[in-house]
């Protein structure tokens, strides 16, 4: 059993969170397809987006989600939802970092430039609802 607690399987919890994320992305009207285990990447979920349904033309838009449930049952989860197309690369993250105060932040870069960071407060730490919050934010940012 993974994780540091005898009764907590962090890998199983991360697996369930990623499955929930994939399920919610599949339900979103902008998402045209998702890839995650067993078909696709082994440890993250990638969604292909049809941003033209928002009236925005982008080239190869994708959202990549990662989730780690934490080393113990009481630990905070660590996660990220990162958008990319051929020109832009930005996303909402929740993990320890040294750029801004707190764990929640938005990071963005254009081309090969360095990321810029700003604090972000997530409304929840449950992956299901977070997907919809992120997709709503994404529609404004894209």
């Amino acid at each position: 059993m993974a994780g540091s607690s005898d009764s907590f399987d962090s890998a199983a919890a991360s697996h369930r969170a990623l499955r929930s994320i994939k399920q919610e992305l599949d339900r979103h009207p902008i998402v045209t397809g998702t890839r995650g285990f067993p078909a696709g990447d082994f440890a993250k979920v990638v969604a292909d987006l049809a941003t033209e349904r928002w009236g925005i033309d982008t080239d190869n838009p994708k959202l990549t989600a990662r989730w780690f449930a934490g080393e113990s049952q009481d630990a905070r989860p660590e996660f990220s939802f990162q958008y990319s197309d051929t020109e832009r690369d930005f996303g909402w993250h929740y993990h320890e970092q040294e750029h801004v105060e707190g764990w929640g932040h938005f990071q963005e870069r254009t081309g090969e430039s360095a990321y810029s960071y700003e604090s972000y407060t997530f409304p929840s730490q449950n992956p299901a609802g977070l997907v919809w919050d992120v997709m709503s934010n994404l529609s404004s940012r894209v």
Binding site: H15, R16, R19, S20, R27, A43, Q73, Q97, A128, G129
Partner: protein, 172 residues
């Protein structure tokens, strides 16, 4: 309080049952009706009815703590769900290929970090020189644990392939 645009969209595209199932299936620790109802944006009475149904369907487990009902995903259901996904996606040869790919990924990490297990890598992450290296090693350790979990289910699917993939229509 007014719902955010994201919540509004979620409610438009899903039923209360969908949201309850999705929220409750992803909790890391057992949660009461109030938490699940709030996260799924449904009334507590509605949530209670749906949670009872999900327990009857063996999707969730119910426990009681100081008189409060708590709900958590049934690990057996999670495993069976994964087995069904695997068998829908792959035949036996495909499962063996998938197992090989997962094992290769683990062997790459063992070689790259000269370590045998994700817990060992996590311990070593504390000794790196930069925050970026620490974060990278901790992320790899998390992915490694996840892949080990998934590998165990792939091995189960291969070992019991004939039993799990029996077509009831052929024997009808």
């Amino acid at each position: 309080m007014t719902d955010s645009a994201g919540v509004e969209a979620w409610k438009e595209q899903t039923t209360a049952f969908d949201r309850i199932q999705s929220v409750a299936s992803a909790v890391s620790q057992p949660q009461p009706v109030s938490y699940i109802a709030a996260e799924a944006h449904v009334a507590e009475n509605t949530a209670r009815d749906h949670l009872t149904r999900l327990v009857e369907l063996n999707v969730l487990l119910r426990s009681d703590q100081d008189g409060t009902a708590l709900y958590a995903p049934d690990p057996l259901h999670t495993r069976m769900q994964m087995l069904r996904d695997l068998l829908d996606e792959h035949d036996r040869d495909g499962l063996i290929q998938l197992k090989t790919s997962l094992q290769s990924q683990i062997e790459d990490w063992q070689e790259q970090y000269n370590t045998e297990s994700p817990s060992e890598l996590r311990n070593r992450a504390a000794e790196t020189e930069t925050a970026a290296q620490t974060r990278e090693m901790r992320n790899i350790a998390s992915d490694w644990e996840l892949i080990l979990y998934r590998l165990s289910i792939v091995e189960d699917a291969i070992e019991n392939y004939n039993t799990y993939s029996k077509d009831f229509q052929l024997s009808a």
